[in-house]
């Protein structure tokens, strides 16, 4: 087949390459798409400048339009001058930033929270960066991190005890989210293996547990932790409110995690099990070295998905009276000094949640790329 050489190589038509081609192909491929594109552009044109103006250009930060320092709502430009064109009043966030981050944690002890946040980053490093030096040792730290964090935050071992009713804001949100996810993950693996176990007692127990927890909404479990759990405990023993909630959140997340991982387990071809058994690996060796690494790898998107879901669900704790990030925001609105600035508070809380959940979702994409989860296991 030599006849290709008879033709001069020509460039593709202008309308199919470059920006123009891309636009034509993706935005204006037919008249329905064209209308949708134009509508979306129109809405963005209306929305984005308005939002930027409200949130940045005509917003108050520390001072109002007269240049006065804002100490309560009456100083906010949009309250002081309702006729004028003024945007958000971020002073409520700035003045209460400490509360939004730490709740009522005593300020002379707050270095402990900051240190915990820092250690959290250190603990995440070996998970985030594969080629970090000393990864093996760092992983060990990651495993003991929850214990270190607990001692730092709560106290004991020479630290002053800070009761959890002083915790609040982002601290509570992160404690529930991070501890909930970190404890639920291994628990979920065990439950998933247990549900597929050939020992009927174990499999029945795991199935019952998973189905029961998945069968009720999280809010029911939170009430269970808040109201019923104390009834089962001996008189005088009062389990801390936050711990009770954490138990409920962890059990809830573990059940979902178990089902996600079971999905991964079921995708592993039978041959993998048989191969592992034929080289003489025990049940635990087989799962640890052959099955789970593959199963977890293909479950990553769902694992992250349920984790993001849980992170956002932690705001439900406000119903039982814990002041998480959202709760602190609503508390600020209930202070006569700042009442009525709900838009600012809710936008700020949404932004903080978005930062965390978006980072989680980006991390999952990075993992998927790194581990090439899209490729079929057998051909890998």
């Amino acid at each position: 087949m030599e006849n290709n050489s008879n033709f001069e190589s020509r460039k593709p038509p202008v309308a199919t390459t470059g920006i123009l081609g891309w636009c034509r192909q993706h935005l204006f491929s037919n008249w329905v798409n064209s209308i949708v594109t134009l509508l979306v552009i129109y809405f963005l044109y209306q929305l984005i400048p308005w939002f930027l103006d409200w949130s940045v250009f005509s917003a108050d930060f520390w001072t109002n339009y007269k240049g006065e320092l804002i100490v309560d709502r009456t100083f906010c430009s949009r309250v002081a001058d309702p006729e004028g064109d003024h945007g958000a009043c971020w002073a409520i966030i700035i003045v209460r930033f400490y509360q939004f981050m730490y709740g009522f944690y005593p300020s002379e002890q707050v270095w402990r929270v900051n240190l915990t946040y820092f250690l959290l980053v250190v603990a995440l490093l070996p998970l985030l960066i594969e080629k970090i030096p000393g990864r093996k040792h760092l992983i060990k730290f990651t495993i003991v991190f929850p214990i270190v964090a607990f001692i730092l935050l709560y106290g004991g071992f020479g630290f002053q005890v800070i009761p959890t009713n002083k915790w609040g804001g982002l601290l509570v949100t992160l404690v529930l989210g991070v501890f909930g996810i970190a404890i639920a993950f291994p628990l979920g693996i065990l439950l998933a293996l247990g549900r597929r176990s050939q020992l009927p007692v174990i499999s029945m127990f795991c199935t019952l547990f998973i189905e029961f927890i998945r069968g009720v909404p999280l809010i029911t479990l939170l009430f269970f932790g808040m109201v019923m759990l104390p009834l089962f405990l001996p008189e005088g023993l009062n389990l801390d409110g936050l711990v009770r909630v954490l138990v409920a959140v962890t059990l809830f997340q573990a059940a979902y995690m178990a089902e996600v991982i079971r999905g991964g387990l079921q995708a592993i071809p039978r041959g993998q099990y048989e191969a592992a058994q034929s080289v003489g690996l025990s049940y635990w060796q087989m799962n640890r070295k052959i099955i789970l690494p593959q199963a977890i790898r293909i479950s990553i998107p769902s694992i992250v998905n349920t984790s993001i879901g849980l992170f956002k669900d932690t705001t439900l704790v406000i119903i039982i009276g814990l002041l998480d990030l959202l709760g602190i925001g609503r508390g600020a609105l209930a202070d006569a000094t700042w009442m009525g600035l709900s838009n600012e508070v809710y936008v700020f809380v949404a932004l903080v949640f978005f930062i965390f959940t978006f980072s989680m979702s980006r991390y999952s994409l990075y993992l998927e790329k790194k581990l090439k989860t899209g490729i079929n296991m057998g051909a890998d």
Partner: protein
């Protein structure tokens, strides 16, 4: 069988042998008080993270009575759903959270309301442009109403009894009601009068809104404790009464020191100069002095948190002393 019974008896004894709440609180060194997660004027954290408000002051008064230090309180935030279990389980010693005193809560839930610190009632708020000055003139109005509450039932009763009609716009939260009312999607918002005042205070121009004088339900709000520990109930009851009696007698945080030299016998009894009334409660004799000095009397707390000079701007009305046309009335201190 006998053995089993004796085990039960021992167990029952073990449970009943608990020290009283007052002793628990004294040993612990601070009071645990349940408040709302935030309600304008009644309880909210200030910028420094300290709780303040009209309900919070009741907690502080009890702490001042026991420890002579109103700061020895730890606040537990509770919601409408979690408040009763939290109190029943002993996580908090008392609840001061705008809770309406009703028969079932007092009797069936096993609590004891020790008094009323705020007489509330369901009212109506409308735009002043509507030109209506009585709720019976609201025939055909669209009413913003929180679903699943007693206010919904009261509303239906009121309109039916007056033979007028209305259209309900169901909403879930206060915020939602506020937005709907200010946007003109409903003509009337009905909830407890204190809540209406809070909503009105958040308007860009509060003068454009009026709270009608009609009050269509009784909502006596007060602090409560667990059933059964009467000694503890007495401490909380008389801490609250002290604030009211102090207003009656004209004793306030500013003149409490001078009042110790007063020639009115009840003032002297109140401040512990004469008689051993504190000891009867197993408190120090100057417990009332500490409350008045550190928290103030009823009117001081009212004016500081919800009174006419605050953004809420609530008048005393029903909550005025019985001598001033209200129904606030405390038993004598003797």
């Amino acid at each position: 069988m006998k053995k089993l019974l004796s085990i039960f008896a021992v167990l029952a004894f073990a449970f009943s042998a608990n020290a009283g709440t007052l002793d628990d609180v004294k040993n612990r060194g601070f009071l645990k008080c349940g408040v709302t997660t935030g309600l304008i004027g009644f309880a909210a954290p200030d910028d420094a993270g300290n709780w303040a408000g009209f309900d919070v002051d009741v907690c502080r008064a009890v702490a001042a009575a026991i420890f002579g230090d109103s700061s020895k309180v730890e606040f537990t935030t509770t919601t409408g759903k979690s408040r009763f279990p939290t109190l029943a389980s002993g996580e908090i010693d008392m609840l001061a959270r705008n809770t309406t005193w009703t028969l079932s809560r007092d009797v069936n839930l096993g609590f004891e309301f020790v008094g009323v610190n705020y007489y509330d009632g369901q009212g109506f708020m409308i735009p002043s442009a509507l030109g209506v000055d009585d709720a019976t003139g609201l025939d055909g109005a669209t009413v913003c109403i929180q679903t699943g509450t007693t206010t919904e039932l009261n509303l239906a009763d009121f309109f039916r009894a007056n033979g007028i009609g209305y259209e309900a716009l169901p909403i879930e939260t206060n915020d939602e009601a506020r937005e709907n009312l200010f946007a003109g999607r409903c003509d009337v918002y009905t909830t407890d009068a204190s809540g209406l005042s809070a909503t009105r205070a958040q308007a860009d121009d509060p003068d454009k809104w009026v709270v009608l004088p009609n009050i269509i339900s009784k909502e006596p709000l007060g602090p409560l404790v667990r059933h059964g520990d009467h000694q503890w109930g007495d401490v909380v009851r008389w801490s609250l009464n002290t604030m009211i009696i102090a207003e009656e007698l004209g004793v306030s945080s500013s003149n409490v020191d001078d009042s110790k030299g007063s020639n009115i016998p009840e003032v002297l009894r109140l401040l512990g100069v004469e008689g051993g009334y504190g000891e009867m409660l197993e408190l120090s004799n100057d417990f009332a002095y500490n409350i008045i000095k550190q928290v103030g009397n009823y009117s001081e707390s009212f004016d500081r948190n919800i009174g006419p000079d605050t953004p809420l701007g609530i008048g005393r009305n029903l909550n005025a002393l019985w001598t001033d046309g209200g129904i606030l009335y405390a038993p004598p201190f003797r």
